[in-house]
């Protein structure tokens, strides 16, 4: 077993990527992802990591280089944030449709304007439909563990889809936390060498990325979608295997004090730790409040989610992104739709909080839970509500 030592989460993530024995890294620096790629470039420059580090002129080029790199059978990593992720947008669709398992860590950050380098989930919510596997980490240890998992799942021959690990910018990426990095042998045991189903090889030529005429496009998309949904099983098995080797257990949806809960807060990412404190306080005050955290965002773990919120009367979804003019925050819209067909489903109230680095405090979570209780009796006026706005 590796040692548990205090490390900045970004540095630990870079060390984990190194332990995954990546062949190629192509990245463009952007706050708050910077420390991850900076440390990786140091590791390559020092000769500690035998990989090709491609410096590029933009994130569009970074992801394009990654796509080409994976297509040749090289294990490939990139990382970005906010505008950088937005600039990758076009290529993200292509990477997944071409079944090229790039692994990317996104240090989540607000999108401009106004210019903000601080944390929220606007960047990743704009990439909902790109067809990448997407997970959200709560703390540093999980961030690291999800990196090993991402490579293992993405490169699995039954999967072959790219994967994003989301870590909250600054509030996670720049924190110093006690993190256990496993021994290299354990990582090697968990993550076999990358053996793609097909690769670009002049000795055995294939073409990747031809046109799909109207007679075939729908079928191609159906095939992609089925394969993506089937990735779910591999994702779960890879977490089972992870537990066997590393002793930490991960599930697509986590619950906290959900037994007999009437109101449940729902969140993704690192804010869940604050929300837990709020739940503890409210439980002490006799309120039956629990917490649900979605770790696996894509493919959406429908059954795990429905099971997690069973018996709840009101679900207070805390979104870290705004979908202007929509019927709720992006996560709220997703779960409302997920629950619609479920008999005896909980009601859903949508809160938008923690935009552009605004703190979400224990008191804020208590306020949201109280509002959720209130909305059990009186229907909310709006379909979503921003929390902590100064009037």
């Amino acid at each position: 077993m590796g040692k548990r030592i205090a490390k900045e989460v970004s540095i630990a993530v870079a060390e984990a990527v190194k332990q995954c024995r990546v062949d190629v890294i192509a990245a463009y620096p952007i706050t708050p992802q910077t420390h991850i790629v900076e440390h990786l470039s140091e590791l390559v420059a020092n000769g500690e990591l035998d990989a090709e580090y491609i410096t590029v002129e933009s994130e569009h080029s970074a992801i394009s280089a990654c796509l080409g790199s994976v297509a040749t059978g090289a294990r490939t990593f990139t990382s970005t944030s906010a505008q950088g992720l937005a600039l990758m947008h076009e290529i993200l669709f292509i990477t997944s449709a071409l079944r090229l398992p790039v692994v990317m860590v996104v240090a989540n950050r607000a999108l401009s304007a106004p210019i903000s380098i601080w944390n929220d989930h606007a960047d990743i919510m704009a990439q909902r439909d790109v067809g990448w596997i997407q997970t959200f980490a709560e703390n540093g240890q999980e961030a690291v563990d999800l990196v090993y998992h991402a490579f293992r799942v993405a490169e699995d021959r039954r999967v072959m889809f790219p994967a994003i690990v989301n870590i909250d910018g600054f509030t996670l990426s720049h924190m110093i936390e006690p993190i256990e990095l496993p021994d290299q042998e354990q990582v090697d045991q968990y993550l076999p060498p990358f053996k793609p189903r097909y690769k670009l090889d002049p000795r055995k030529p294939i073409s990747i990325g031809p046109v799909g005429i109207p007679e075939i496009y729908t079928e191609a998309k159906k095939a992609q979608d089925e394969a993506f949904k089937n990735a779910y099983r591999v994702i779960i098995k890879a977490w089972d295997e992870f537990e066997k080797i590393f002793g930490r257990r991960y599930r697509p949806v986590e619950t906290y004090r959900m037994e007999d809960a009437e109101v449940a807060l729902l969140i993704m990412g690192s804010l869940a730790e604050t929300a837990m404190t709020a739940v503890d306080r409210m439980r002490e005050a006799g309120k039956k409040v629990g917490l649900v955290r979605i770790r696996l965002w894509r493919p959406f773990p429908l059954r795990d989610f429905v099971r997690a919120v069973k018996g709840v009367k009101m679900l207070a979804v805390v979104d870290r992104a705004l979908s202007p003019g929509a019927t709720g925050g992006p996560v709220a819209v997703e779960v409302r739709s997920a629950l619609y067909q479920v008999p005896g489903r909980p009601r859903v109230v949508s809160f938008i909080a923690g935009l552009g680095g605004r703190d979400v405090t224990v008191e804020d979570f208590e306020e949201m839970a109280d509002k959720a209780y209130f909305y059990l009796k009186k229907k909310p006026k709006e379909s979503y509500e921003m929390i902590g706005v100064k009037e």
Partner: protein, 99 residues
């Protein structure tokens, strides 16, 4: 992805992995001649055998015969007219296809 007559009938289960083309050079199975509404007609009197038509044809549909003339293969010629437009001698005329 595989092109040709079967593409339109292919089930999603038969779509190759990632829509890759696993068989190199299979574009010869794709009969672009179906698209043609004009056909290039060569006037050998004017032709100087320079090969511009052969080089510029996007399909490529031209093959050289024993005498050195470039002869169009109508299975692949899609009738774009590039050959006629680049021919320095005006040796190629685009003639409408009668259906």
């Amino acid at each position: 992805m595989p092109k040709g007559k079967d593409t339109a009938l292919m089930s999603w289960k038969e779509v190759p992995f990632g829509c890759y083309i696993l068989e190199p050079g299979n574009s010869v199975k794709f009969k672009t001649g179906d698209w043609r509404s004009f056909r290039p007609v060569l006037d050998k009197e004017k032709c100087i055998k320079c090969g511009q038509c052969y080089i510029m044809c996007p399909e490529p549909a031209y093959e050289q015969d024993e005498e050195g003339y470039y002869i169009v293969n109508l299975t692949y010629c899609k009738g774009c007219g590039i050959c006629a437009s680049v021919c320095p001698k005006g040796a190629i005329t685009m003639v409408i296809e009668e259906v």
